[in-house]
């Protein structure tokens, strides 16, 4: 499963399908890949809460708004956020994992704001010990993704956004 997602991602197929299925008008936020590390067990957090328990990470404050294309705030949007730890691994990649970490589900407030504490994302390689890693090697491509954080928005009446 993980290899298949990665293969689709490295070939650009995931983003091609996303761009057809979820076309974005010019003034809206672009989507990108979901990746293989989203889970459905992140805890609901209040605005201002901390999503990471990694003491080695550099503290980070994230302050965002969510609006419609006319600039009106969207309240009550469910915002799923996830990131790696300071070593570039998601919680699910640790064999001794005890529960969710580096992920949370937030809700935008009445002014469309949401904010949380996290750690500064680090660059990391995708798992490259399988067939996709072999393919990248043959193509002389490196397996690193730039430092990033995932956001997934869900609000009734709006096209889902994963970015």
């Amino acid at each position: 499963m993980q290899e298949f997602i990665l293969l689709s991602d490295v070939l650009g197929l995931s983003l091609l399908v996303d761009s057809i299925d979820h076309p974005k008008p010019e003034n809206s936020t672009e989507g990108t890949v979901l990746g293989p590390f989203h889970t459905h067990e992140a805890e609901h957090s209040h605005n201002g809460g901390s999503i990471s328990q990694d003491a080695d990470g550099e503290p980070l404050l994230v302050v965002c708004t969510v609006k419609d294309v006319d600039g009106n705030p969207i309240s009550g949007a469910k915002v799923d956020v996830w990131e790696t730890d300071s070593k570039g691994f998601y919680d699910v990649q640790h064999a001794d994992r005890t529960g969710p970490d580096g992920r949370a589900v937030l809700t935008s407030d009445s002014a469309g704001n949401f904010w949380f504490k996290a750690i500064l994302p680090v660059p990391y390689p995708i798992p490259h010990d399988g067939p996709v890693g072999g393919l990248l090697k043959k193509l002389n491509r490196h397996p690193y993704r730039p430092s990033h954080m995932h956001f997934m928005f869900d609000k009734s009446g709006y096209d889902p956004l994963i970015t």
């Binding site: 991602d9 979820h22 990108t32 503290p59 404050l61 294309v69 491509r141 993704r145 928005f153 970015t163």
Partner: protein
């Protein structure tokens, strides 16, 4: 890799004013990322999907009908 989109790249800043640090309960100097997300309504996304599909079919010279917004070859 994975098709990085320029519009999604953010500069990391710092929390540099006391009021902001107090408001969010962090120390000044903490790294800060801000971003304004813009969502599209289901209706607008559906219309855009349809118009792009029509454009793609026209550019290939295909004669199609749309059934539930899906292009189906018009054979009659």
């Amino acid at each position: 890799m994975f098709g990085v989109k320029q519009s999604l790249i953010v500069e990391v800043g710092k929390v540099d004013d006391q009021d902001q640090a107090k408001k969010y309960g962090v120390k000044t100097g903490t790294s800060l990322i801000t971003y304004d997300f813009v969502l599209v309504t289901d209706e607008a996304a559906r219309k855009l999907r349809r118009s792009k599909a029509e454009e793609a079919m026209n550019s290939q010279g295909r004669k199609v009908r749309f059934i539930d917004d899906l292009p189906v070859p018009d054979v009659d």
